[in-house]
Amino acid sequence: MSEKQQQAVITEAAKISFQNVTKRFQVREGRGVSEFTAMDGVNLDVRPGEFMAVVGPSGCGKSTLLDLLAGLSHPTSGQILLDGRPITGPGLDRGIVFQQYALFPWRTARANIEFGLEAKGFSQKERRERARHYLALVGLSGFENRYPHELSGGMKQRVAIARSLAFDPDVLLMDEPFAALDAQTRESLQTELLSIWEQTGKTILFITHGIDEAVYLGQRVAVMTARPGRIKRIIDIPLGKRSEDEDIRSGAEFGALRHEIWSELREEVQRSQAFDRSPVTAKAGLAK
């Protein structure tokens, strides 16, 4: 089989496929307009049902990647396929979980979960039913009528996850969802996310800057380069099933993988810091 054919097979089987995706932004700089390349020739295939973690130094275009995949912006060149079809706009086949929860403060937990269902045109009875089901799935039964400001950070993120799962997307995109939480809440949510993933069989693309988190959650970890964002390496995480009782994070294998990613990232962080000290920082900050 030639390399090209092989490529075609992978593409067909892939749930999400980034094909040579480049994204440039126009940045105003003084009087002129300059161009800033956020992502440059990104190739990435995510298999159906896979948990793929993406790590990278800050400003590596992780959020750009997510925006493109969500259909909120369009690549300058290249294409992104979902089930073999190019993404043309936002859709309910993809659910997004944001770092800052993005819950609607005027809606109760249940009404927040029902938001996407309203967009999909479910009946009220069905919406209630689903909201109850998914609140239970994230361990928040009994909190239906709480407003977001009455919930803790961890609970808000649970509601946000339930909201994204409720309209049953094939793909879950998570943008540093646990970054704003305290360590303990984060660990318990990570464990729960894995069990939700196992129960629902969703394809998950999980963006993070935490190496531990990436190794713990991902079946594969994609390491991105600093500006412009490219996929530097994809590392398999052959850790098998994570169980709740076992402290997998302190195992030797976990440590080795962690170190491998850390070394890859360190170069990028150094490069990115060197970049930060140069006068073009403002430009990069804008495009972030």
């Binding site: 936002p90 859709g91 309910l92 944001f98 993005a102 609607f104 403060p105 005027w106 967009a119 407003y147």
Partner: protein, 289 residues
Amino acid sequence: MSLDKAMAATSSTAAGGLATRQAGTGTGRAVAAAVRIRSAAAKVLRSTAAIAAFAAIWELAPRLGLVDSTFLPPLSTVLSAWWDLAVSGALLEHFQASIVRSISGLLLAITVAIPLGLAIGYYKPVAALLNPLLELFRNTAALALLPVFILILGIGETSKITIVLFACTWPILLSTVNGVRSVDPLLIKSARSLGLQPFKLFFKVILPASLPSIFTGIRLAGASSILVLIAAEMVGAKAGLGYLINYTQYNFQIPEMYAGILTISALGLLINQGLVLLERRFSGWKNNA
């Protein structure tokens, strides 16, 4: 613990928490009830103390000759004048005239300013087109236009309601524009990612997210509705609280004049309270409500 001891404990200021902790026991519950009554009484006392002191000074200063009682009659004289006005029905007539004008002006302003503000906040071209004109109007004191309104609309109700409408429009308009512009972009992004089209996005996200800000504007407008109305009534009217104050002052009915002023304060409080209740009803999800 004996009841006596418990009661003694409650008399100290720190007893609230203590009594709550005892609330599970039989005697504790009675004590807790007593504390609740006491703290409620203290609360009432705190919130009325300043007003009571003000009333006392008003009553005593003229009586002790600290101020001329012709120009500032004691509160009791004012209140009895108020009572006479109320019984005669004159007060109600003026009060009604004022409240009808201010509320109709406010309601009209709400129906004009909110849609306009939403449009300006949402569509950039509309904002670019209208902003200079609006900025000019906003900075024109409403009362400066009163002669114009009277000239064009006559001395009747129309000119008064129009000036209230004018004065109320700006705070509502500005806070609506502000509300729309300051909707958390993340919420919009989140809704857009769910495939919401602009029309639905507007009604499901932008409007509810702007409501608190819109209500702030409505409350500001409520205050200025009265301010402007009273001034308008002083200039040219045959009824209304502003007219009452002006008329009584000309005729040297000083206690009646103060009675009119007190009624205006009451009207202001009434409108504000009504708006606060309305605000709670519509944006009860806010932390501070």
